[in-house]
Amino acid sequence: MKSWKELPIGAMIIEPGNSIEYNVAQWRVFRPVLDKNKCTKCGLCWIFCPEGAIVRNEDESYEVNLSFCKGCGICQRSCNVKAITMIKEEGL
């Protein structure tokens, strides 16, 4: 843990977006699984995800980054072609 001398002054955080280091995946009970064959690349799961856990690739394909997913299931609900299924995490 940093001493008072090592902390930035004025209660600042000087590394933008370093919350990616914080493990939210451990909150998850259900995991989204995307069936790429069914996916129509509409992008709704991507724009509705509260976390930014859906990755939009350059070729407009999508995938889930499970490190950032809390398992809320909004993506599944937003998918009109049912390409996403929520599966219970093992050991829970």
Partner: protein, 388 residues
């Protein structure tokens, strides 16, 4: 450089103009209002190039000042009494986010009963907010302290409050030396401060500080204000070189061989000096100390002048109901605890809500201080001028 007669309020306004501030956010309150009126005129007349935010409250005044200061603008506001009390929570934020705001606080009593007149209740209630606090004794000092405040605030990244007594200093004209603007600019160049809100940096400011970090973050304020002692002295020395006037953290009068001393803050020291002169003529070895820098408290300066004093009186112009002592008294007694001698200290309260403290009142205080010195026993706090 010219000699002019100005009120304390206008002296502050002229200092702010000469400091070429970028942003002023202010709300009217008696007896501070002439400061922000004058600044408003300067801006309207094109004499000061600043954004003037007519905020809807003191709470917003200081909030806007924090946003402004962190964006890198030289920033000023002024207030009094209820206005300062309304800022209370924001005062902490201004220091803990390490802004360089300069604020004039024209001292006035707190409600209730509503009272627009002078005492020190407002600023004393904000002792612990992490601001540097200056208290001035004259219109010249009000001007000089404001100029110095910008330099100190920008060096140490702590906000500075300049306290001047409502009406007694704020509304009374005194002759002062107004320096040339170029000289002021030489002392405090008109340059932007570090912009901590730049998109190039994307800092996050004003975070949640959980128990494992809050303590360290708050300790930084202790460190900063302790280190500011050096800057305050250095700025004062530099000011003296350029302007020919310097001020210590305390000002003393006839203390070299004094047996009995009275400690005050603010403009009442002028009346006290008259009494010191007259008692000296009668052969009484009395002296006077006025505290100019209340935060950080000038402990070492005070211990030094008390070397050979037999007893001390402390005049508080604010109350700590239910406390062991009123604010200034408590500071002095705590200071003396670390000195090698035991000196009896008598507590006085006077001048609340604009009640005059007369020459006779001061004579009475000096007489009591002497009695305490001779007997070695102090009395409970004496409320000077209170009708029993």
């Amino acid at each position: 450089m010219k000699r002019v007669a100005l009120s304390g309020n206008y002296a502050v306004a002229y200092a702010v103009k000469m400091a070429d501030v970028d942003v002023i956010a202010a709300y009217p309150i008696t007896p501070q209002t002439p400061i922000v009126e004058k600044l408003s005129e300067f801006v309207a007349d094109g004499l000061l190039d600043a954004e003037y935010i007519n905020v809807e409250s003191e709470h917003s005044a200081l909030s806007a000042c924090i946003g402004s200061s962190l964006t890198g603008a030289r920033t000023f506001t002024a207030t009094s009494s209820q206005g300062l009390a309304y800022m209370h929570e924001v005062l902490f934020m201004a220091s803990s986010l390490r802004t360089s705001i300069v604020m004039a606080n024209v001292n006035r009593a707190l409600s209730h009963p509503l009272n627009i007149w002078n005492d020190h209740s407002d600023a004393m209630a904000e002792r612990d907010v992490g601001w540097i606090q200056f208290w001035v004794n004259s219109v010249q000092e009000a001007f000089d302290a404001t100029i110095q405040a910008f330099k100190i605030a920008e060096e140490v990244l702590l906000p500075v409050m300049i306290n001047l007594d409502g009406f007694i200093l704020s509304h009374i004209n005194e002759v002062l030396i107004l320096p040339d603007e170029e000289l002021v600019r030489e002392f405090i160049p008109s340059k932007p401060l570090f912009n901590r809100l730049s998109p190039k940096l994307a800092y996050t400011i004003g975070v949640v500080g959980p128990p494992e970090y809050y303590y360290e973050m708050r300790y930084q304020i202790i460190d900063a204000i302790e280190r500011s002692r050096k800057n305050i002295n250095e700025v004062n020395r530099e000011f003296g070189e350029l302007f020919g006037r310097t001020y210590g953290n305390i000002s003393t009068y006839m203390m070299e061989d004094a047996d009995y001393a009275l400690i005050t803050m603010g403009a009442v020291s002028s009346t006290a000096k008259i009494v010191v002169d007259s008692l000296r003529k009668e052969g009484e070895k009395v002296g006077l100390i006025s505290i100019r820098c209340f935060r950080p408290f000038p402990k070492n300066d005070i211990i030094e002048v008390f070397e050979d004093v037999k007893s001390i009186g402390v005049l508080d112009r604010a109350l700590t109901p239910g406390g062991i002592g009123h604010p200034l008294f408590t500071e002095i007694v705590t200071t003396l605890y670390d000195s090698s001698k035991i000196i009896p200290v008598q507590s006085f309260v006077g001048g609340l809500g604009g009640r005059d403290i007369t020459i006779d009142d001061f004579k009475q205080m000096y007489k009591i201080i002497k009695d305490v010195g001779l007997s070695g026993r102090r009395k409970p706090c004496i409320y000077i001028g209170l009708r029993e």
